[in-house]
Symmetry: C2
Subunit: 988 residues, 2 copies
Amino acid sequence: NQRCFQTATVRQISVETLQPSDVFAPRHNSAIGQEVQEMVNLTGFDTLDALIDATVPKAIRRGQMDLGEYTKGYTESEFIAKFKKMAEKNKVFKSYIGMGYYNTHLPPVIQRNLLENPGWYTQYTPYQAEIAQGRLESLLNFQTVVTDLTGMQISNASLLDEATAAAEAMTMCSALARGKKLTFLVSDKCHPQTIAVCQSRADGLGLKVVVGDEASFSFDKDVSGVLLQYPATDGSIHDYKALVEKAKAAKAKVCVATDLLALTQLTPPGEWGADIVIGSAQRFGVPMGYGGPHAAFLACHDEYKRLMPGRIIGVSKDAQGKPALRMAMQTREQHIRRDKATSNICTAQALLANIAAMYAVYHGPDGLDQIAKRTSGLAAILAAGAMKLGHTVGDAAFFDTVRIKVGDAAKVVAAGVAEGVNLRQLDASTITVALDETTRLEDVDQLLRILNGGSAPGFSAESLASEVDSPVGSFQRSSGYLQSPIFNLYHSEHEMLRYLKRLENRDLSLAHSMIALGSCTMKLNATSEMMPITWPELASLHPFVPADQAQGYAEMFEDLSTQLAEITGFDAVSLQPNSGASGEYAGLMTIRAYHQANGDHHRDICIIPVSAHGTNPASAIMAGMRIVPIGVDRKGNINISELKAKAEEHKDKLAALMITYPSTHGVYEEGVDEICRIVHDNGGQVYMDGANMNAQVGLTSPGHIGADVCHLNLHKTFCIPHGGGGPGMGPIGVKAHLAPFLPTHPLVPTGALPGFKGDEKSFGTMAAAPFGSSLILPISYAYISMMGSEGLTEASRRAILNANYMATRLKDSYKVLYTGDNGTCAHEFIIDLRPLKDTADIEAEDVAKRLIDYGYHAPTMSWPVAGTLMIEPTESESKAELDRFVNALIAIREEVREIEEGKADKADNVLKHSPHTADVVMAGEWTRPYSREKAAFPASWVRQAKFWPTASRVDNVHGDRHLIAKLPAASTADDTVSEPMAASVGGN
Amino acid sequence: NQRCFQTATVRQISVETLQPSDVFAPRHNSAIGQEVQEMVNLTGFDTLDALIDATVPKAIRRGQMDLGEYTKGYTESEFIAKFKKMAEKNKVFKSYIGMGYYNTHLPPVIQRNLLENPGWYTQYTPYQAEIAQGRLESLLNFQTVVTDLTGMQISNASLLDEATAAAEAMTMCSALARGKKLTFLVSDKCHPQTIAVCQSRADGLGLKVVVGDEASFSFDKDVSGVLLQYPATDGSIHDYKALVEKAKAAKAKVCVATDLLALTQLTPPGEWGADIVIGSAQRFGVPMGYGGPHAAFLACHDEYKRLMPGRIIGVSKDAQGKPALRMAMQTREQHIRRDKATSNICTAQALLANIAAMYAVYHGPDGLDQIAKRTSGLAAILAAGAMKLGHTVGDAAFFDTVRIKVGDAAKVVAAGVAEGVNLRQLDASTITVALDETTRLEDVDQLLRILNGGSAPGFSAESLASEVDSPVGSFQRSSGYLQSPIFNLYHSEHEMLRYLKRLENRDLSLAHSMIALGSCTMKLNATSEMMPITWPELASLHPFVPADQAQGYAEMFEDLSTQLAEITGFDAVSLQPNSGASGEYAGLMTIRAYHQANGDHHRDICIIPVSAHGTNPASAIMAGMRIVPIGVDRKGNINISELKAKAEEHKDKLAALMITYPSTHGVYEEGVDEICRIVHDNGGQVYMDGANMNAQVGLTSPGHIGADVCHLNLHKTFCIPHGGGGPGMGPIGVKAHLAPFLPTHPLVPTGALPGFKGDEKSFGTMAAAPFGSSLILPISYAYISMMGSEGLTEASRRAILNANYMATRLKDSYKVLYTGDNGTCAHEFIIDLRPLKDTADIEAEDVAKRLIDYGYHAPTMSWPVAGTLMIEPTESESKAELDRFVNALIAIREEVREIEEGKADKADNVLKHSPHTADVVMAGEWTRPYSREKAAFPASWVRQAKFWPTASRVDNVHGDRHLIAKLPAASTADDTVSEPMAASVGGN
Ligand SMILES: Cc1ncc(COP(=O)(O)O)c(C=O)c1O
Ligand SMILES: Cc1ncc(COP(=O)(O)O)c(C=O)c1O
Ligand SMILES: O=C([O-])O
C-alpha cells in the first residue's frame, strides 16, 4: 500500500528536477533550447561553442567567474528575501542635514505610473522624436519649471548632480572667456561637495579655483566667473546685487547654485543678474536614495545656449507643419565635439527630471507655494523656539535651514541621533536644521525638545505660529511662475494618472518591442531588479548620515564591487561616477594622478582611435590631456603600426590609450593584447571603454586583456534601465597600482572598494554623492546575483548569437560591415545603407523612420559610421522578435528596390514620407502613390498591435533655427505646445 | 537683524498653512474651488449646500460622522506609515496548512504590470467588447487553462471561491434535476469550509446535504448529485470510477473539487466521468492574502452550459467578419433571470483569473509540469523521510500533501510554530503537510527535523531523492494540455511584458477616461490605497494561521468594521461576503435566521420592487424566500399604497423588503422612512441594497433611514477597483438585533464585528475564507482613513453635484428621466434614448458604441430601464472631463439629428457603423457616406490621444449560436483566436 515512495533501486527523482521555479537566467536570456540550435545552424556553425570560439579570440578567453556565494545565482524570490534583510540594516532616521538633499513626498500616482512603470523607465533617449513626444513634452515641462523658477531664459533637460552642474558652469565661464581667464571664484558658503567637485574639475582643466568669503573676492582680469549659493549651505540668504555689479564690471560671469523650492519664495537669480543658475531638482518628489540619482539643472541666458552642456528639448514642427518636440542642437551630442568639447555629458537624468516635472504638474504653482510656505513657516517657528530656549539663531533671512548656536554642537547632534534624528554639525558650537516638505508640527516639537536638552519646553510649535512671520523677509519673490495650463490642470489623481498615461502611450519603449540600439545594450530591465529601488529602507536615506545608519548600503557596495572586480578582472572599483562619460573622466583622472605620483607630470598624451565615442576625447580634454588620434583599418580595427609609431613618438609624454572593446564597430580585435603591450611598453596606461562589456562578461575581461582601467555602463550591460536618457551609472574598475588614486569625497571617505584602504592619494571628488547614484546600484547587484556566473556568461554568448543570427539573415539584403577574421560579428553589427543613397536617394534616416511604421525603434544611426545602422539585439530578445525585426528590414529593402526599379518615385515614396501618423493615413483625400495600408500596416504583426507615432517626420533644422525650449506662459486659442487634452477643455 | 521671526502682534503664520502637502481628499474629489461654484450655478442653485438640501430629503439627513482617530483623515504618507506598522503585527510564517491555499510565486513581471497596473485593475466588466479585447483574451486563456487541466468542455471566467463554487455546483445539480431531487451528497474528504458553505447554502435552498465517507453513499432517487474532492483535503487520492458508475446509474451528477496544479499530473476528472468540476486557481500565482481574493472556477459538459453560473467569454465575430471576443450569453447576467435565477453571482474574480491565466502563459505546460513534479517530488521525499523516522505515512497516492501519524499531533504542530512553521493538525495523532511551489529542499530538511523531535535526522532530503518515485502512482495523467501557442511563446520576461502590454493597450480603463457607469461607481482607485495589497505582511498569510499570527489583520478588521458601522449607522458588520450579491444573500439569510430564532419559520415573503437589480430576487430565492413584486411609479419610486396593501396582505408571512436607496433610478425617494415603517409594522425586516451608498455617505445612512441590514459594494463606493469584473467585497451591516445571526466559519470564529461576541446563533458560512477577500479590505480601509469624515461627506456631495451638472448640461439634448421633487437627481441619472428609435432608428446600443469613437466607455445601458443610459460620474472626475463627456453626448445627438433631418441615411450612418477601428478607417476604398475623419476623430481631444477600439461592432447573436469558449489546441495557418503577434512569428 505504500508502494510509490518506497526504496527503489533505480533513482527516480533527480535533484535537478527539485530546483526552484523562479530561476532567473532563463527569463532573461530569451531564446529557448531548440531555437538556439536553429539559430546557431543558420549562422553556419554546429554548436554555440563553435560560434563563440570562432568569434572571441582564443588568446583572451578567461575561465569561469568565481562570484562567491553568487556563483550559482539566487532565484528571484530568494534574492528579494536576502536583499530585503540586507536593506533593513539601513536605519531610516529623520534627516535634517540638508546640503542639497531633502525629504520629499513622491506622489504615489507618480511612483506607480512613472518610476515603477516600464512604459516610462525602459524608454531610450529620445533620438527618434516621432515616437518620443510623451517624454519630450515632460522634459519640456522640466525645462519650463527650471526657467520659470530661476528666472532664466533657457534650461537643459538635466545634468548628473548639483556639484557637476556647478563644475559645468565653471567650464562654461572659462569657455565664454575663450579659455583666457583661468580663475574661478567659489563662495565658501557653497555645499562642501560642490566645492570639492569644482576643485577637482579645475585641476584637470588647468583652472584655478579660489574658495573664500565672497565679500573678500577680488575680480582681477583672470577671473572668468564666480559661484554663489542662494540660499547658502548654512541656510542664510544674502543680497548679492553689489557683488553682481562688481563681477559684471570685471566681465566675470555670475553662477548661482540654488534650490527650486526656495525659489518659489525668493526673488530668482535671473532677476538680480545671474548668468548661469544651477541646482538639483531632487526635492521635487525624487527620493534621496543615499545620494541619487537626481536631476540637476543648468539654466542660462539665451546667448550662452550653444555652450550649454547636456540635452535641450525644443519645439519644432513635423512634415505636416504641426508642432512637434525633439532634442535641439543634437549635433552637440552623439556627434559630440570630440576634442573641442567643453563637456562630456551624454547620459543624464531624464527619468528623474520627468518625476520632478510631474511633481510640479501635480502640485502646480499654488501647491508648490504652499509646500514652500509651510516649510519656511515651520523653520521660522523652529528658529523662534530655539531663541526662546536661549539659543542664538544665526541668520536674518533664511528659507528652510536654521543655523543655531547650541554650545556643544556634537552633544546636540548625538542627542538627535539618540532620538532617531540627524542634524548637521556646522562647527564646534553650531548646528543647522534643514526642514522640508515632510516636516510636521510634531517634528518641530521634537526638535525643540532636543534643543531643550531632552525635556519638553513650556510651549509648543503650534503655539509659536502666531508669533512668527515668513523668514525670507525682503527676499520675497514677487514674480509669478508656472502659468502654463499644464501646471494648472492635473491636480487630482485621476487627471494626473491620465496625463501620465497619455504621455506614456505616445512613446515606444521596451514594453512594446525590441530597441536594438548598437552600443546601448537595451536589454531586459527585469521587474525583480527594479522592485527594491522603491523600498523605503533604500530610498529614504540621506547620503551624509552616520555610517552605522547605512550598513545595508555598505554591505551591498562591498558585494557589488567584489562582483564587478571579478567580472572585469580588476583589483579595485570606485562606485562614484554617475555615467559612462563620468567613468571615463574618473578613470583618466586616476591615471593622471598615478603618473603625477610617479613624478610623470609631463605625461599628458592620450591616444584615441578616430572610431571612439565622442565622450572619449571630451573626457580626455577634461582630464587635462592632449589627444593624438589614430586611424582604423578597413575592418574597423586599430591600425597597430600607426599606434606603435605614435606611442613611440610620444613615449615620454604618453599618458594613456583609450580603446573600446569589442571595437565600436562590433568586432573583437585580434590584436588587442598586442595593443595593450605597446602602450605599456611606452609608459602609458590602457583605458578601456566598457560600453561593449556585454560582449565580454564571462568570456574575457578588461583586466585579463591587459587594460588598467575600465568603466562599466551599468545602464547597458548591467540592466539599469535607460529611463529615456538616464539615470545611469559608470563605476570604474582598476588594477591595483591605480587603486590608491580613485575618487574620494569630502564628507564620506570612499576610495577603492571592496575593503576601503584609505584615500589619501585620491585624485579628488567627481560627483556630489560618495557612491554616485546609490539607489540604482541594487539593479545591477540584483542582475549579477540572480544570473550567477553561468547565467552571465550565457548572456554574453546569446548576445553574440543573436547578433550573428540577425547579420546572417540580413546579409542578402544589406551589406554587413566589419566582421572578424572568421566572418562573425560580436554582440552588434553594422549594416551599410550608403549604397541606397546612390541607387534610390534613400538615406539612413529614411530607413530609420520607416522602421517606426513597422512598430520598431531604429538602431543606432550613423554612428560610428555615417550612413549606417548599428544593430545590437542583446540576449533578452526571443527568436520571434529578432525575426520580426529582420523581416521589417528586409521588407524595407524591398521597398527601396521599388524605387531602384522605378516602380516608386524617388521623392514621393513610402520611405520619404515615413513615419505615418493616424492623422495622415486617415486624411480625407489620399494623394500618395502608395496605399494607406502600405503606409501604416506594412506587416501582419502591426495590424493588430499597431504603435502609432504621434508626429510625422520632425524638422530638426527649423527647430534649431527658431529655438523654443519652454512652454509659453499661458495658453492661447491655438496653443500648440501645451497638452492637447488641456487645450480642448470645453471644446468639441 | 533678527527681524523676521520676532514676536509680532499680528498673527503671521496660520496653523492651516502648516498642514501637510499630501492631504488626500483634494486629490480624490476632483473638481476645485472656483469650478465647483460654476457647476453649482449652472444647476440653478446658489450654493452646493442648497443643491444638496434640495436633493436629499431633510427627514433623513444625519449629523457629522464620528470616525474616531480617523475623523480628521490621515495624509497619504501618514496612513502608509501607520498601516505598515499595523501590518507588521502579522507574522509571516511558512505555512504547510494547505486546504485550498498554497504559497506561490507571483512572477514579478505579472505583479508589476498587471496586479499593480491601473491599466488592468481599473477596467470595468467587459460589457463593451470592442474596447475590452485584451482582458477578454486573457479570460479566454483562463477558461482554456481550466478546461484543459480538468478535461472538461466548458469553463466560466471565474467564481468567487472554491467553497461557493461547490455550492453553485450543488445548485446546478438540483436545477438539472428540475428541483425534484433534494439530496446532495458531500464527501467528508472535502475541505471543511467547502462542506460548511454547501450546508448553509442547502439550508436556504431547502436542499439536504449528506456528509459522509463516499464509500457509504447510497444513491437513492432523491440524490441530485455528489461532491468529491480530488486530491482530498487530507492529501489522499482515490479512484472514484466505481462511484461514478453508481452515480450515473442513479442519474445523479458527479461534482469534483480539484486542484489545477495537481491536475498537471493526475488523470483529470473529465476523463473519469465528472459532470461538473470546481476549484480555485489561487496557487497559479495569486497571493494567499489571508483568504482572498482568488479566482475559483466551474467547468462542466457543454450540455449544462445554460445552467452555468457566472460569466463566460466566447468567440464571435465583428461587423467586418473578423474574430472578436465578448461575454457570451450576457442575458444571463445584467438582465439576470430574477426569481428564476439559480445563482446570483455578478461581480466575480476577473483580475485574479487574469493573474492565474498569465501565470500559465508564463510557465507554459512544461513549466507547470516542472513545478508540479518538484512539489510532488519533495512531498515524496518528505513522506519517505517521515517513514525513515518511524512515522506512519497515510496514503498510497498523494500529490503535495503528506498525511503523517505522529503520536501527539498538537505537540508537533506546536514545535512547528516555534520554528516559524504552520502544520495542519488533522486529528489528535495526525498532521498533514502540504508542500507547494515555494518549498525548497532546505524546507523539507527543516520539516524532517521537526518530525525528528527537533534534531537533525541522519539523512538529508536531498539524499532521499534517489530513493523515491512520483507519489501519484497509477493516477498519472497521460493526456496533454495547454498546446495552444499562447501558452508556448511568452516564457521570457520580455515576451511576457509585451504580451501584458499589448492586451492592456486594447482595453479602455479609468487610466484613459471616465467610465460613467450608473450603479457601478467607477471612482478613483488611488495608488496609496492600492500599494499595501502587495506588501508581503498582508499578501503571504494563510487564512487558517493561528490568530496570534494575524494580529495586524485583526486590528484592521476592527477598525474597518467600526468605520463601516458608523458610516452605515449600524451596530455590527460581517466582513465575509465577497460581492454585493453575496452580501444580499448573507443579509437575507441573517434575517431568515432571526425570524426562525423568533419562531417565525413561516416568514418567507420578500417584497421586491420591479426596478430592483436582478441579484435581489436571485438572492431572495437562494435564501428560501418567495418573491412578491411591487411596482414603481412614474418617478421610479416605490408605489407606497401598493406596498402597504401587499405588506398587510402578507402580514404573517412577511420576511423582508429589499430596497435600493437612492433608488435604482437615481432618486432619493421621499417616502423611504414611511416605507420602512410599513414593513416593520407588518413584521418584516428592511434589507437595503447598498450599491448606491455613494449618494449616502455622510448625508444619511441605511441605519438612520430605518433599514435593518445593508450590504456595501466596497468595489463601488469604497474604492476597490473593478478589476475588469472583480474582485469585490460585499460586507453587510446590521442592527443589533440581527448581529447574533451573522456568518461564521468552521475554522476561524467570525460573527459580528467589531468586538467578536460569539457566533452560536449564526446562520452559517457563506464563503471559504472567514473574512472574505481580506487582502483587498485595506483598499477601503485606506480610503476611509485618508478621506476622514469631511472628505467622505464632501465626496457624496460632489458626486451629486457632478451628476446634476451633467444632467443640466444634457437636458436640452436628451430627456432626463426620474428626478426628485425639486427636479434634481441623486448621484446618477438616466437619459432616455427611446425616442431616437422612432425618429432615427437609433438604439441605445448605437449611442453606446458611438461613444467609443469619442474615447469613452458607455454608461450603463438599458438598466434599470430599457432604451436608456444611466450616467454616474462620481466625485473623482474633474469638470473638464465631465464637459468632454457631455460634449460627446451632445455631438452624438447632433449626429442623430442628421438622420432625423434626412441628411444621413437610417441604416448607413456613423452611429450604426460605430465603433470604427483603425483598420476600417484606413481601408483603401472608402464607401461610407461620411468622412474618415468624422468616423474616427469626431472631437478635438480624440485627435491627439485617440483610443482605438480593436474590434468593430461585435455580433453577440452569432457567438451565442456557435459558442466557442476556449482556445483551439494548436494554431492553424489562419488561426484567428490566438494572439496575433504569436501567429505572425516569422511572417511578414
Ligand atoms: C562607446 C561608448 N562610450 C561611452 C559612452 C558614454 O556613456 P554615458 O552615456 O553613460 O555617459 C557611450 C554611450 O552611448 C558609448 O556608446
Ligand atoms: C443595485 C445593485 N445591486 C446589487 C449589485 C450586485 O453587486 P455585485 O456585482 O457586487 O455582486 C449591483 C451590481 O452592479 C447593483 O448595481
Ligand atoms: O459588475 C457589476 O455589475 O458591477
